[in-house]
């Protein structure tokens, strides 16, 4: 966990001398993949990052979107995969803490948390169960204590994460535009370290996260303290209101090394600091330990001499540490001293800007044959198959998870977790809708189309609440980038996301790349996780209760795209086939039509059709409304397919709409006008979820019984080890 030989000689030639041991530690932290993005940075530039609503300022750790009336929304996504795989409780909890401070450092109050969790086969693998349970508790304990609602997310299990964990956390912030911190500093300003004390926890965390997980280095995992974080939030926001903050950055990966050098580099200043001034939780720490410690709940603040006193008074009120650790200089150097003795003196530019790599890529060999299907055993009872899917860990209700998260604190939550996307009310009368989605099964089969599919799915979810997508967050998680085949999958996913973002004019407002996600059995499947933020100007579409006699329309074509579907993988235990492909034109038309229908109050609810396909989506509508539905599979538009494929294909751009019969002709007219492929396929009523093919009954399940199974199977598995 240090610099590679070539990087060391580069450093020597850049500074013209031998680096000191402390300098080596600082540079190793900052040039790690985790902090420098050295493998990915030159490619990430392809994503569109500007737009009419995007506010770009230097030194922001989160994206900023203008939502009108003088208000802004901030957004960011991070992961804490390596730490969570070793110590799931602390790893997941500090993952929340880190992303919250990114939101805070723009000067906005964090208002929502989302988490995407991925583990191994939770049915067979007890370690996966342990990791899952503890990661959920870690997120709950941290977020609940902060009083920030965790309002959405996703949970997925796949054998590719065996002995490993992906813990992604996204957060949203809200505030007044005038309160945004305009990062600036001038010579003589004071550099303050605020918050928790610095200890030996999390030492080398960023390098730990930039390598394959070979040792369970628990000392590289940070220790969470949500109470201190809560105090920091309140203290920072008060200091912000009082105009005491010139520049601010949170301490995350790379600790002080990263915060100091990146601040100095972004603001084109020098910073001279004294490690003796840093408040530590243990004595005898070496300067290099202080510089790379990743102890949590710390903020770096630049203020003026005059404002310092007021800042200290605020910190005293909240009883949090506030150390004046250094001063702003005009020389662009990062100068680290202990008392009078210099331990490091490097150009901020050298530290903060690692040489970017241009890694080779090559199409993986496995992709040559992946689309070939095998012959499957015929299924005799589709009711059983559907029940099996509805109780499977990936599709069963996640109420056991979000029921442990306070998702209502802050009293903004209009649409609560468990629906397509969650909706928050904002102070200007508008509403914000957000969702994160990933699909490694699709991405493994086709990294480009799979990534686009995740993006579209998140958009569909947001659209179902009546929101127009205004920004996206991308979190790109892959294995070792030095393997050209893995790097190819990274590039393909990125290109796909870029194409979709440009076509839909949805700017990327934040993101993260996490590489070296390897398990003892090899790399994880490509796992981009996409967050989409949507804005609703007037009223959100809050699903109205479906009643007897209401109709069901499907928008979008159902195609022979079952590769990576839950049906192939969970039921047939087969990895392969053609994965769903998004047709951009159809996607746009369908999205806009759903928004039109919602705007005109023509439908009761819209539901996205995704994992588990039409069969699962219809069941979800029935179960959450406690009503039956009869669907004619022969009417479903799209390819001519066998019934199992119509039931379980995961084709994109599809929406299910429930509505009062009286609106049927208006809805049909609107959809015909917009040239949408759609069909009225069913009627709600009775107590069974029923799928017919012409006159033949294919599936018949009792709603109440199915609902109970769907609701309880995940907690039965986690708490009692019961598998269906």
């Amino acid at each position: 966990m240090s610099l590679e030989d070539q990087e060391l000689s580069e450093l020597k030639s850049k500074i013209g001398r031998e680096p000191t041991p402390t300098e080596l530690q600082i540079v190793a932290a900052e040039w790690s993949e985790h902090c420098s993005y050295k493998s990915s940075k030159r490619h990430l530039k392809m994503l569109p990052m500007t737009g009419p609503l995007v506010i770009n300022e230097k030194g922001y750790d989160s994206g900023v979107l203008d939502v009108g009336d003088g208000y802004v929304v901030t957004a960011h996504i991070e992961s804490h995969n390596h730490p969570s795989a070793v110590e799931p409780y602390g790893g997941a909890a500090t993952g929340v803490g880190g992303v919250i401070r990114d939101i805070l450092s723009a000067g906005t109050r964090p208002i929502a948390i989302f988490d995407g969790l991925r583990f191994g086969n939770v049915e067979k693998d007890l370690q996966a169960r342990w990791l899952f349970k503890n990661a959920v508790t870690g997120i709950a304990d941290y977020g609940n204590c902060l009083g920030i609602p965790t309002i959405g997310g996703e949970v997925e299990f796949d054998e590719c994460y065996e002995n490993y964990a992906l813990v992604d956390v996204a957060a949203l912030g809200f505030g007044k535009k005038e309160h945004l911190i305009k990062n600036h500093a001038k010579k003589g300003d004071i550099v303050v370290l605020m918050g928790g004390s610095t200890g030996r926890d999390g030492i080398g965390g960023s390098q730990f996260a930039s390598d394959s997980l070979e040792s369970e280095d628990r000392s590289a995992v940070q220790i969470p303290d949500p109470f201190i974080e809560k105090l920091i939030i309140e203290a920072v926001l008060q200091a912000r209101n009082d105009g005491l903050i010139h520049a601010m950055k949170d301490l995350g990966g790379g600790g002080l090394s990263c915060a100091i050098s990146e601040t100095a580099d972004a603001l084109e200043i020098g910073i001279e600091m004294d490690v003796d001034k840093v408040h530590t939780r243990e004595s005898g720490m070496h300067p290099s330990e202080i510089m790379v410690s990743e102890s949590q709940e710390r903020m770096l603040i630049v203020t003026s001499k005059i404002k310092l006193k007021k800042l200290q008074t605020i910190c005293e009120k909240f009883r949090i540490g506030c150390s004046m650790i250094g001063q702003v200089k005009s020389d662009n150097q990062v100068h680290v001293k202990k008392g009078k003795k210099t331990f490091a003196n490097l150009s901020a530019d050298v530290v903060a800007n690692a040489t970017l790599l241009d890694l080779p890529s090559k199409k993986p060999v496995y992709l040559k044959t992946i689309e070939t299907e095998k012959k499957f055993k015929p299924i005799s009872d589709y009711s059983k198959t559907l029940m099996k899917l509805l109780s499977s860990p990936n599709i069963a209700s996640k109420i056991w998870v979000y029921g442990q998260y306070d998702h209502e604190v802050g009293i903004r939550t209009v649409v609560k977790p468990g629906k397509d996307a969650s909706v928050l009310r904002l102070d200007n009368g508008k509403f914000l809708s957000a969702k994160i989605d990933g699909n490694p099964k699709h991405c493994y089969i086709n990294p480009r189309e799979g990534a686009i599919g995740c993006f579209e799915e998140a958009c569909r979810n947001v659209v179902c609440t009546g929101a127009k997508p205004i920004g996206m967050l991308d979190h790109l998680q892959f294995g070792n980038p030095k393997d050209p085949e893995i790097f190819w999958t990274f590039l393909e996913s990125l290109k796909g996301l870029t194409d979709f973002a440009k076509f839909f004019e949805i700017p990327c407002v934040g993101g993260k790349v996490s590489l070296y996600n390897e398990t003892p059995k090899g790399p994880i499947k490509p796992t981009p996780v996409i967050g989409v933020i949507g804005l609703i100007d007037k009223k959100p579409s809050v699903s109205q209760k479906i009643s007897e006699g209401d109709c069901l329309i499907i928008i979008g074509n159902t195609k022979n795209e079952l590769g990576g579907s839950e049906f192939f993988e969970y039921v047939h235990k087969f990895v392969g086939g053609k994965c769903p492909v998004v047709n951009f034109d159809d996607s746009k038309k369908n999205m806009n039509s759903v928004l039109d229908l919602i705007k005109n109050n023509l439908i009761k609810s819209a539901h996205d059709c995704s994992k588990g396909g039409l069969a699962v989506a219809v069941s979800e509508m029935c179960m959450t409304n406690q009503i039956g539905c009869t669907v004619s599979l022969d009417k479903v538009p799209g390819d001519k397919l066998t019934v199992d494929r119509i039931l379980f294909s995961e084709s994109h751009s599809r929406y299910l709409l429930s509505f009062d019969k009286k609106n049927l002709s208006k809805i049909k007219d609107l959809l015909k006008n917009n040239k949408i492929s759609f069909k009225e396929i069913g009627k709600f009523g009775g107590e069974n979820i029923q799928f017919n093919n012409k006159i033949q009954s294919v599936v018949k399940l009792n709603v109440e019984k199915t609902h109970r199974v769907w609701l309880n199977s995940l907690s039965d598995l986690i708490l009692h080890g019961k598998t269906s």
């Binding site: 902060l146 306070d406 209009v414």
Partner: protein, 226 residues
């Protein structure tokens, strides 16, 4: 009409409570930091939810020793209405203003869900606008919400009509499904569920918002007509 909202380090429903008091019910509400005193002319005090002191040692136990609690006790003796919600209830219990303790939920998990309350006592400043046995849909959000008292105290609670709310069904293993209690005089009330999360139709899936009457009861007590 002056209502104090007490803020401890780690309180996190203080802003929600303040919003509801001022913007929805038009009280003259003010925050009071735990190290400050309360003014003598205050008309009611609310201890909001959250994680005071990060729930260290035990929920509410450190905050129960905050300087402001002395004033809260004085005010309680004068018969002025005091409401503790969630962590506020835990603090009132830990400070001895209310009987009983709050233990970890039977599931050992934090629970965030909607449940139903049954009104058992409509003779408090926060329940006088309800009928006995009336049902209130309301959310809970806590990890240590299981109310427990020993048998003798339970007898006393029943005799003195100190049980204010019960859950309509078993939620977390509370003794006798108790969700809220009051002191003998009835002016100090504690409850685990969050009424401030249920009074605005925008965020409340149940449309008649009976929780509003907790705040309307206080308005009535203070002589303000609806």
């Amino acid at each position: 009409m002056k209502v104090g909202v007490v803020v401890f380090p780690g309180s996190n429903c203080d802003r929600d409570m303040y919003h509801v008091l001022t913007d929805v019910f038009h009280f003259d509400a003010q925050y009071y930091w735990h190290e400050k005193g309360l003014p003598k002319n205050i008309d009611a005090v609310i201890l909001p939810g959250g994680f005071s002191y990060g729930d260290r040692l035990r929920a509410g136990v450190i905050a129960a020793h905050s300087p402001i609690i002395k004033d809260v006790k004085k005010i309680a003796e004068k018969g002025i209405p005091i409401l503790g919600v969630c962590n506020g209830f835990q603090i009132l219990v830990e400070s001895g203003l209310l009987p009983g303790v709050l233990l970890k939920n039977e599931s050992l998990n934090f629970m965030c869900e909607w449940t139903n309350l049954i009104v058992e006592n409509n003779n408090t400043p926060f329940t006088n606008q309800f009928k006995i046995n009336e049902k209130i849909p309301i959310p809970i959000a806590n990890g240590e919400g299981r109310y427990y008292v020993d048998d003798d105290t339970m007898k006393k609670l029943k005799k003195k009509n100190q049980i204010v709310f019960r859950y309509s069904e078993v939620v977390n293993g509370s003794s006798d499904r108790i969700a809220g209690v009051c002191n003998e005089d009835g002016n100090v009330v504690g409850m685990m569920p969050h009424p401030e999360r249920a009074v605005e139709s925008e965020i409340n899936p149940i449309d008649n918002k009976p929780s509003s009457r907790i705040f309307e009861s206080l308005l009535t007590t203070m002589g303000v007509s609806k």
